[in-house]
């Protein structure tokens, strides 16, 4: 019994030791980010008031239509808002504000990108949301260890990709159920 207790405690101790060791670098990374976050941002009041009630503000486009402007704040290792929804055909403007270190914004599928630097530059880009579905936007400026995982979602409605594949899976299920039943009936007929 004593042996098992010692073994168990040793395993737990090794586990904590490894975790503490490999997470030890965090302090340095956060320190750097915290220092950068203190730098005054010349665009500090950009949209802040108008964004409090809605994730975007509408504006009139050059063609007289309505565009949607999102201010996205980037901070290790997430965007706020992290999911933005627009409709197909919307003109979308993104203002990217880096809150700690330099961050980027690359939109999958649309292949547009911008970057922002805290206290220096607010990133900006514009595109027409002419492709429907879910698209990741991801950081394009190496910003730290979790940089490859810094992801947000743009969902362009109607999300026909999702509904089409869901329908496909449901259809496969139904066909499989019917096929199974039919095959067995055929077997019965053959057997008769």
């Amino acid at each position: 019994m004593k042996y098992y207790i010692v073994t168990f405690c040793s395993v737990i101790a090794i586990f904590f030791g490894i975790v503490a060791f490999v997470t030890g670098g965090d302090a340095v990374a956060h320190e750097h980010g915290a220092a950068a976050a203190g730098v005054p941002d010349p665009a500090e009041d950009l949209l802040v008031g108008s964004l409090s009630a809605s994730p975007f503000v509408e504006y009139e486009t050059s063609s007289g239509g309505i565009g949607k402007l999102f201010e996205i704040r980037a901070k290790k290792f997430a965007y706020t808002p992290n999911i933005i929804r627009v409709n197909k055909g919307d003109e979308v403007t993104i203002k990217l504000r880096a809150m700690d270190v330099s961050h980027g914004f690359y939109l999958d599928g649309y292949e547009v990108k911008t970057s922002a630097h805290p206290g220096v530059e607010v990133g900006s880009l514009q595109f027409i949301a002419d492709k429907t579905g879910k698209f990741n936007f991801r950081c394009s400026v190496t910003c730290g260890d979790f940089h490859p995982y810094m992801v947000g979602n743009l969902i362009v409605e109607p999300n026909s990709r999702l509904s089409n594949y869901v329908l496909l899976v449901v259809a496969i299920g139904i066909v499989s159920a019917i096929g199974t039943m039919k095959r067995k009936e055929e077997k019965k007929e053959n057997g008769q």
């Binding site: 975790v19 490999v22 706020t80 690359y106 879910k134 990741n136 999702l162 899976v169």
Partner: protein
Amino acid sequence: MANNKDKLFGIIDLDARFELTQFKWIRALCKSRWFYMGLLFFNLFMFTIILTSFFAGGFSAGNYNFGIMVVWILWWVLLMLLLVPVFSRAWCTMCPFPLFSDYFQRGKLYQVVQGKLGGLNLKLPKSLQNMWIMNILFLFTTFFSSFMTVRPFASFIVIGSIIVLAFIVGLIFQKRTFCLYMCPVSGFQGLYAQFAISEVRCKDPEICKNHKPKTCFVGDENGYGCPWLLTPFDFKKNTYCGMCLECFKSCPYDNMAFNLRPPGVDLLVKTKREYRRLDEAWKAFIMLGIAIMFFVTFQGPWGALKDMAKATTWSGYFTFIGFHSAVSLVIFPAIFLIFSLMSKALSGNKEVPLERVFTDFAYTLIPTGLGVWIAFSIGIILPNGSYILHILSDPFAWGWDLFGTAHIAWTPVLTLYTGHLQGIAVAVFFLFAAAYGSRISRQVYSNEKEAKLGWLPILVYLVLLNVAFLLLFLG
């Protein structure tokens, strides 16, 4: 076993095989020890660079580290997209980790040594001769995924530990005990290899029946007895065949074959020696649980989850690994148990044990799981693949430009199609899950009516599961 006239989707004969080793040069490769050693030494060389790069290859971010990119992006994606679905456990053929213990046991690197092997040569206790150790070890390894996929030294610890463990186990236990029962990578390969479109099998069972002694098992001057402790003359499933190709060398009748076959035929294999098992079923649940947790953590937009996974706070980290474990070990199996209960109830069969219903139908999660992991891998490689070009030219971050690609900018490719490819992967593999599931139902229940009714709840479960994954990937 499937009957001879059974055709998948009405067109694919489940008994169809195409023997690749009928081509002399392929058989020569399988019989060549140089070919095998060449693969091993190539990967030994690669792992030497990988381990070195973990120390000297840049510490700022994993995406510019050779080892991180080769192991966690290139290798993982190759494994899930190509090696396992097509070549079964071909990675085990070329994995260099057991090379040191093999050398210790045999005393020779190239020549075949007959007789007792070195080391203690102990047998693993019967109760541990299953996938449970691998299940736990693999799940445990994923607790560190948020460190080892971004921090080179964390990867060094994990991979280094596996190499050392493989060696130590080789000193104590017989042959490839580590690969067979302990390697974290082995379990899921074995599980999904059942779906692979290739296999190593004996050609003519009659030749094997009359051949004594069974040199594929005990070895001869040309080859070792199966290092994976299998009986190559009669095994029917890919799960535990490490494709080391020793049986090609030790068979005096050239009676071993490397075949192409319809995907997933192993799912219907149910013999006295190779039956469906709870440990393998749990592996299927664990793999699905890990897929969900990995996706929401690493490909999802939720920063709070990333903070938990990277241990920004201890409480967050332990909440993460606790939930991660619960999803894989408890929640997934519990939901499946409910549908298994419904299956048994609806079938009207009171004799069949619930454990059998649960275990047998869990094998329908193998195609689904593989499809989900392929979808997950597509989401990794398309946006991040271009990093590989950079690190190949400058593996140690020393400013080299070996292939002229060191300065290629990060360039996601085909990301417009990511969702489509993921949707197709999920749907296609669900098609196979449904096709095999209805056949498994016939094996579970005693008559057609029971099989038909008992299959419906499981089919509903599979539809819901696949829709849930579509929501994750595309919603």
